[in-house]
């Protein structure tokens, strides 16, 4: 066996082992995250079946209600940024079962919500486990708060 062959075989073996390790340790959806726009989500099977999903949208103006007693935040997301003159039709009500909201979370903010859609007595509502927010791109070198604030975009 030549030396090159030995090295190649060793590297392949290590790569296979690491690949196997990755495959057995990664939960579906936990690591390979991407998100849908609100428009895509509404018509998708994820919405009707109540599957775990990540949805991108904008917080509707005047929709944020912090309920301290119930330890939750209610708000609505819409497809278009409210400042851009987009209509507020087709908003999705969201319930976040925590008072923990990111710095950039405010009316009009671009957000990604993570959770599942379920049918409440009052109608369909998105139960979010997590909210990521991004500030409007004003600066060339703009930061988005915590490094993990906004996952990469599903374009």
């Amino acid at each position: 066996m030549s030396k090159g062959f030995q090295v190649a075989a060793g590297a392949t073996l290590i790569a296979l082992l690491l690949g196997w390790y990755a495959a057995t340790n990664l939960e579906e959806g936990a690591s390979f995250a991407y998100y849908q726009t609100l428009e895509e989500f509404v018509g998708s099977p994820d919405a009707s079946s109540g599957h775990h999903a990540r949805v991108h949208g904008y917080v509707s103006i005047g929709s944020i209600e912090r309920d301290v007693a119930a330890r939750s935040v209610r708000f609505a997301v819409q497809n278009q940024p409210p400042h851009a003159g987009g209509s507020a039709t087709g908003t999705l009500p969201v319930l976040l079962a925590s008072l923990e909201t990111p710095d950039m979370f405010k009316e009009g903010a671009e957000v990604v919500i993570e959770g599942r859609l379920s049918q409440d007595p009052a109608g369909a509502r998105f139960h979010a486990d997590k909210v990521f927010a991004k500030c409007p791109s004003k600066f060339e070198g703009q930061a988005a708060g915590a490094p993990s604030d906004l996952p990469a975009k599903n374009s």
Binding site: I14, L18, Y21, A22, N25, L26, A30, S31, F32, A33, Y34, R66, V68, R71, S98, L99, E100, T101, D103, M104, K106, C135, K138, F139, E140, G141, Q142, A143, A144, G145, A146, P147, S148, D149, L150, P151, A152, K153, N154, S155
Partner: protein, 650 residues
């Protein structure tokens, strides 16, 4: 005034082109006079770029809002030191800083080796100037820091700097990082010169030993300061999130560290010539690639700047050409870099160093894949998927203990081939150290911590045992000979064999850092909503929420909450987390308050002041996190011990 800078950059480009030509010609013709032309061009380019960057600093200091760059990254309300630091707050300025550091290193290296290494010199100059040319082309043609706003659009005030960047650490973190990244241009240029001339002996890496250690140290400091900044400013309780830009700074560190180890094998055993050259090429390419990643917006990140297709293609092209030319040269000289010696045994220090190299490269591959996953998936599947922290943590968890083990094992095994007696003599105490620690942990925690923490901390104890044994034996050997007390012997060790004994200190720092990182398995986080007068406890501590009041108006406003921290009845501190709003930038920021001890950090964030007068706090208990910073200091001291110049060793 700004015209001076613009002109200086254009002149520098001309000079760099001329010097590059002179270097190539001198290298091919071996003419000393043309070598000197190339060397002088390096100096003049440095002077011109210095002039340009000084001009830009001047424009920031004096509010020259005619300049697009100055008006976009600073404002009158910012204090002078942040206005100056705003120079590296955006793309054009940070590239200018890159270029300035590159040219400063180039000039320093050429000056330090004047009259020596005559065959390598012209090629070193050519390689360094080629890099300068690229940055000059970008700065003159694509991303011009001296571009002016059209008349009529000039405002009396600027847009301000991202408030998160207005922090003392942010003034030095980029400088440290860039001092690291740009510095690898010197070993790279020497390696390239070695390939170009065929002088593939030990000259190139002996000449560049300190030129490699120096940027390596600064890169390490930069990475750690970045973590420190994230911890103090971003307000999410952590210091490392596997964000693309963090990865970008970490990636070149890996092959550089691998190189620092494997070059010792070349020194001792004349093996791995090609591998070492490859590692240096890889390191510098990754330095460029990291800069590209953070300055292009290819991967979304906290730091990424506006994406312009021209910038992307030119910069990526440059990275690929650099790598391609280097690999081409390596291929061309493949006959000259065959190793004379073979690995004799798998139980030898060479083998443990080789394994260490493989682990570093595996970590690199893992980070590279994860960071660029969105780019790969977009290209192949058409939609962008990102991998999150779990991906990176999963591999780091697997590979870090392996590395830790090798840190302990490497110094204990003999070169060439270790005998059984050698192994027995060397391993007894360190292994006992590790086992005792494992036992102690088991008793102390009674299964309260994960298996992973047991392994990591026991291995840490094993490595500390190794290092202590090495020191104790060496000191004892010297004192036994007489004439020296223990302290003198210690000092003599660090002076006479600084690479080895300084290296152990670096290892000790790394062990501390890993102990601190592993502390995360004991982390605890809570979200608490309390009214003034209310209290809550976390761990053995209690927090009384006293009041909240408005922050005195500056260029930001907001609220600060006051909490009294107790352990039992013993008052410890008053904590004051802030929720800020930066008016001009319309950006909120949470400034955490941290109570820090060797044992643990208590980290409090004011999430919100609610309508009913209560306040919502996010509280983290981060055990051992301080050991990361302590380890960082030890690491740097160790590196200094390795590099410290001693007159008798020149």
């Amino acid at each position: 005034m700004s015209e001076i800078g613009a002109v200086a950059l254009r002149l520098a480009l001309l000079l760099a082109l001329a010097g590059f030509g002179a270097g190539i010609y001198a290298g091919r013709s071996r003419r000393e006079d043309w070598t000197r032309v190339a060397e002088r061009s390096v100096g003049v380019v440095f002077a011109l770029v210095t002039c340009a960057i000084a001009t830009l600093f001047w424009c920031f200091a004096n509010h020259d809002y005619q300049l697009v760059y100055v008006s976009a990254h600073s404002a009158r309300s910012m204090p002078l030191h942040y206005r100056l630091a705003a120079l590296w707050g955006g793309q054009a300025g940070s590239l200018l800083l890159w270029l300035w550091m590159l040219s400063a290193y180039s000039a320093a290296a050429v000056w330090a080796h004047r009259g020596r290494v005559r065959r390598l010199a012209p090629w070193v100059c050519a390689a360094l100037l080629a890099n300068a040319i690229f940055f000059l082309v970008i700065l003159v043609g694509i991303s011009d820091p001296f571009e002016k706003l059209p008349p009529g659009h000039v405002a009396s005030d600027g847009a301000g700097l991202n408030p998160l960047l207005q922090h003392p650490v942010m003034m030095i973190h980029p400088l440290m990082l860039y001092t690291g990244l740009t510095g690898f241009s010197i070993p790279f240029a020497f390696a390239f010169a070695a390939l170009a001339t065929g002088e593939l002996g030990t000259t190139w890496f002996r000449t560049t030993r300190r030129w490699t250690l120096f940027p390596w140290m600064f890169l390490s400091i930069g990475i750690m300061l970045g973590g420190r900044w994230a911890y103090e400013v971003l307000g999410w309780g952590g210091y490392w999130a596997w964000d693309p830009v963090e990865n970008a700074s970490f990636m070149p560190w890996l092959p550089a560290t691998a190189y620092l180890h494997s070059v010792m094998i070349q020194e001792k055993r004349d093996m791995l010539k090609a591998w070492n050259l490859l590692l240096i090429g890889l390191t510098y390419t990754l330095c460029l690639f990291g800069t590209f990643l953070t300055r292009s917006g290819v991967v979304q990140s906290v730091h990424s700047f506006a994406q312009t297709p021209l910038f992307t293609s030119v910069f990526l092209g440059y990275v690929l050409v650099t790598a391609g030319v280097f690999l081409g040269a390596l291929w061309y000289r493949r006959a000259g870099i065959r190793s004379e010696n073979q690995l004799e045994s798998m139980v030898s220090r060479e083998a443990s160093f080789l394994l260490n190299n493989w682990v570093f490269i595996a970590i690199l591959v893992m980070i590279f894949t994860g960071t660029l996953w969105p780019v790969f998936t977009e290209a192949v599947l058409g939609n962008r998927q990102a991998v999150g922290a779990p991906w990176f943590n999963m591999f780091a968890k697997l590979l870090a203990p392996v590395l830790l083990l090798l840190t302990g094992v490497g110094p204990l095994i003999a070169w060439r081939r270790a005998s059984l007696a050698n192994l027995r003599r060397q391993f007894v105490w360190p292994v006992a150290c590790g086992l005792l620690t494992a036992l102690g942990l088991a008793i102390a925690f009674r299964g309260g911590i994960t298996f992973y923490a047991y392994v990591a901390w026991s291995l840490s104890a094993f490595v500390i045992g190794t290092i202590t044994q090495e020191y104790v034996r060496a000191v004892r050997a010297r004192t036994r000979k007489g004439g020296e007390n223990s302290l003198q012997a210690l000092a003599a060790l660090l002076r006479k064999n600084q690479q080895r004994y300084g290296g152990y200190i670096v290892h000790l720092g790394v062990v501390f850092i890993l102990i601190g990182i592993t502390g995360a398995v004991l982390n605890e986080e809570r979200l608490e909503n309390v009214k003034p007068g209310g209290s809550f406890s976390i761990g053995d501590k209690r927090l009384d929420y006293l009041t909240a009041r408005a922050l005195p108006a500056q260029h930001y406003g907001g609220a600060v909450a006051r909490l009294a921290l107790y352990r039992g009845d013993e008052p410890l501190a008053v904590m004051a987390p802030e929720k800020r709003m930066y008016w001009l930038e319309q950006q909120p920021a949470s400034i955490p308050s941290v109570y820090s001890t060797l044992h643990e950090d208590l980290y409090v964030i004011l999430t919100a002041i609610e309508h009913d007068g209560s306040a919502t706090f996010k509280v983290y208990r981060n055990p051992l996190v301080n050991w990361i910073w302590i380890g960082g200091v030890v690491f740097v001291l160790g590196t200094l011990a390795v590099m410290w110049p001693h007159p008798e060793r020149r």
